[in-house]
Assembly symmetry: D3
Homo-oligomer: 258 residues x 6
């Protein structure tokens, strides 16, 4: 039986989060699928906002670029609403599935409208843009935040209550299916689904299965157009080593007009 090896990239540098995500990925994976977690060596402790998201995107791409482990068949990017997926599609030679889009794809098969419940309210904009540019925004009824930060997800009972409260808002807005808008919440989807009586999709689980599907069908990223391979050129990933203390951006000017 052929085996599929999926590399799951955490969007932040918190190893405990990678462990949580890879544990969830393993539970979701088909028999025989191997999961490897990849934690960026730099970037953000947790991604909460646009600045974090862009820093995270570069760090995750750098992690993929410098990865020297066993060959893999697909990449799952486990940052909900975080940037980077298109860059990874250019970079690696295997399919790339982002958990945001993945959850939406499966949710569309389960009901007419879905809603996303995420951590902080500030993430709503990123998630909406991510769904829109992935082509699956049309059936998103609402995105709601729980008010909890990514690193406050430790207390399961509190998280569940906050999730259920936010979920009721998106159901009232017309959602028939819920999406867990944060990686690393293994098990929460079952509890919420049981309480609210609607299916709850976890992005990591969805992405693992979609990645397996693409691999199983021999489908890869199109190189015709947007996701052509990166051009050859000079790139520096982070500040130059050794001189780090005194490296600054170069300032030209100021020069006044007129």
């Amino acid at each position: 039986m052929s085996r599929t090896h999926i590399l799951v990239t955490n969007c932040n540098t918190t190893l405990a989060m990678t462990d949580e995500i890879t544990a969830g990925a393993r539970v979701a994976a088909s028999p025989g699928t191997t999961i490897t977690g990849l934690t960026p060596s730099w970037g953000v402790e947790s991604a909460e906002g646009w600045l974090d998201s862009y820093l995270s995107a570069a760090a995750v791409l750098d992690a993929l670029r410098t990865y020297e482990g066993a060959p893999y068949d697909a990449v799952v990017m486990a940052g909900f609403g975080e940037h980077g997926r298109e860059g990874a599609r250019e970079l690696v030679g295997v399919p790339v599935v982002d958990i945001t889009e993945a959850a939406a794809h499966l949710a569309c098969l389960l009901g007419r409208r879905y809603g996303v419940v995420t951590t902080l309210d500030r993430a709503r904009g990123q998630i909406e843009d991510s769904l829109l540019t992935a082509g699956v925004g049309a059936h998103c009824a609402a995105v709601a935040g729980t008010g909890l930060g990514v690193l406050e997800l430790g207390d399961p009972a509190r998280v569940e209550e906050a999730f259920v409260a936010a979920a009721r808002k998106v159901l009232a807005a017309g959602a028939e299916v819920l999406v867990l808008g944060c990686a690393g919440m293994t098990g929460l989807e079952r509890a919420v689904s049981a309480r609210l009586g609607v299916p709850v999709v976890d992005g990591v689980a969805a992405a693992v299965r979609l990645a397996e599907s693409l691999v199983g069908l021999g489908l890869g990223t199109s190189r015709a157009g947007g996701y052509a391979r990166p051009e050859r050129k000079g790139r520096a990933w982070g500040r130059p080593p050794r001189e780090a203390e005194r490296v600054h951006p170069r300032v030209t000017g100021p020069v006044t007009h007129g």
Copy 2:
């Protein structure tokens, strides 16, 4: 190892087509997945147009309703652009995946825009509406017909040429990924992909993998809203037996106003 049993419904009554489709489904399926083909006992020889599509939808729903075979874990509806998926979601207690939406979902993961190549041009409208109402129409660059009817798909070389010609149109319209807009074309996707250098998604294969994914993750159709179980009531699936020769719709009137 748990086994998944997928019921694949042909949208027409042509058994050879069912065989073709189930053969394709088996090739696409994961190890251990069992495929059963279901051919409606009435309906259309081939579905080409709106009338056929609605007749097909009722016939397929009747086939699902009266199926007495082994229990199944998911339904794949193998009529590209044909109606019925929402009715099946109400009817059966397991996930339902239509090949039209399935192909689009996977295509969105492989490129920024996809295009559909189908049989007759008249099918374009149905396919566009099907993608739109499934929530995945936003990234469809174009739908083009080959001019070949469903039952003219026998000559592989001619089909491939016609497909490649139509595919070039949708690529020119911005597609980066192709979708085969017809069931029962096993193998064509590889030939077209090799010639044009872009990924080609077959709907049956995509749907089988998505169905497996939903089953594997324990996800089912939401009953909150649009896909609640059918109401209990009298339904007659086709004209009353025994009196068939003389059964007509009941005409009331004509009565003129004023």
Copy 3:
């Protein structure tokens, strides 16, 4: 004076409903227009949900196909939010107007946004999709259900109260015009309009007038593209007679992969 003969198809098999609908159609028709009601000989007692809608579509198309009464000039399809209109456009040689789209077309002429009040909440999705695919969804502010089933519409006072309550919701959502989202409610539009001070459009009435308009102007369905005449082929409308007790869908398999 030339006379126009309109065939009004009920979407269900309940004759009392056909009578109600044709009575409403006659009140709405221009002087000299003749209305004939057509009740399918099979299908659903009442259409409430997607399964019902697809069964209804096939049954109504079969009724049109086998109709042997006086020639008619146009068809009005009297199932609000139900499927089938595009198939009827292919099938018959005269204009076809569906009451869902008809109500929306007239409503757009009376205010900037309209809202639909229908029976069960579960019908909302079908109505939204029907308006969207008819090209008149853009100005729909909201669709709201009364919670009453199609066959519970007998008690006028209760129906009126339920309607007014749901109507207030769609007005709050921005609607300036109301659409009655169910056939067979003759007279209700006047009562609701009087109480709420906004125009209320009944789909049957709207469709009869639009059908008369198309006939009067000599306009017919385009055969260029989506609504070409059906292909010649074998079609079976419902289970084969005589052998009805033992006719089952044909099951192929199960066969397991690998």
Copy 4:
């Protein structure tokens, strides 16, 4: 038999155009409908462009405001793509139908996509905006100009050729139904329809029938929201009489900042 009196407003001051339009309106009207043409006493000889359109809108509204003829039951505004319909809806106590939207409403009933053939290319933007704000833009495949000015429509053969050429463009863009995008072309729709084999909708004819429909059903403009009756206040329709030679807009300033 009740009679319907429709006031048809020409958007320009050219009486021959009013005659043409009212002749077309009469041909399209139901038996018993009375048509009165209304020509603004000021405004534009022909409306070609945005400036003309806004001047025309004010002049037509003034004509409606100061009309002292027989009471009427509905207004048809016969300027294709011209402004003013919403103002007329506020002003008069009867339904108002604009020929742009009217043609689109009927066209949507005849095919999946329609296209508009108009006079000068410069009118495309106005027509697109008019369809969009009327809520019927979604199914417009394309708007194409013939290159002929409004007052160059005298030579029927030349007009027909120009129309057919432009029509082929919109059909190639996906239109299945054509709309004549200019008032005063009575008869052209039949010639073009015969040559191209697709239905052609004339806006004046469509609007007359829609106006009759609204009147027949007792439906009027909603006053809830956008089309409330105009506020009472001072309004001057054109430059003050008697002092016209030397009336100028009042200039305040110039004053320079800082």
Copy 5:
């Protein structure tokens, strides 16, 4: 230093309003920019509704057409949600900026979604259409009215309270930035911004700066397509002088069909 001269057109005939607007424009302008206010010699005391808007559009265009003051470099049209901007673009040889679109353009740079607070609720439709046709409607979360008429804006405290109340509604709908949807409210934006803690954009100020920007960059209206210069033809701006008391629109008919 080059100087920019901006002509600011009031949409109504109330000179006090012009003064208010030009005062606001001067505060907003860059050093060296000269502001001239232009008050139409006819039209509406205040523009509140569609009828007023179309009358205003013609009057403002007439004012621009007959303006005989110092040459100017750009036009700012100071009617929030009022018509006319495209006509002015055709008419004058310099850039034209409407305050509705201007406020939206700047608001998009300050937050992900903006909302508009205007005077009467009836203006909502015009504002929505104006934003939509200007191409900046996508990020408008909501438009809300204060219930105050244009000429009731005299009492600053009452205006501020009404504004804050309506502003809370649009913030609840997702707006992160507010737009003052009425000209002539200089200073209000600072008070509201201070109380609600979000940026508030005044359309006049925004338009003045955008007009300066276009002038400074040497950019002018495109003549390719929609905004070509007006055709040469006869136009009459308002009722003919001298005979004003008895000038009526010309009535043709009534003539009854058949």
Copy 6:
């Protein structure tokens, strides 16, 4: 006279490009505005594709974060179609204007539809997404590439020819205004505008003027919602110094399911 200091960030590390961009910015700036160019100390030589764009975004944000020069009043981000603007909005206390959105904002004021001419075709997707998420995508008729890389822009005659060729494509698609879709092309807009007779907007120039406008009006980024200030947390901008040779992403696993 108050002075405005604008920091213009190059998206790549090529100092000659920064010089080109700042020269263009100075030409475009109002008298008295001071321009300082900022070149990231790491990142990409030139940004061409998604990978480059995300790397660039992080590098530019790091440059802004570590900038120690004179205080500035606004940031202009000079990467056409590149990511990062929302992160900069969170990070800095002054307005941020991206050249992509800036060009589109001004272009919308000059014609009904605009088109973008960029360097490589592969940039089209990024530009389309950037315009869409900025809220100004609705009026974009087309984005076309010249086939020239960012660093091949040295030969003015060749660049001009390539630009004109691509420009003709977007004009044929309906654009009335052109946008130069690349930073660092000072002067090209005048040549192209002169040859094609349509306005051509340069993003750097547009952004400088819009930034001045926001500063002049005292408007800043909203903190209510999407662009709240970054959370306090650990962030590492590039690989840890000193140990750079051996720093790798941390790999967890592989572990196989089941």
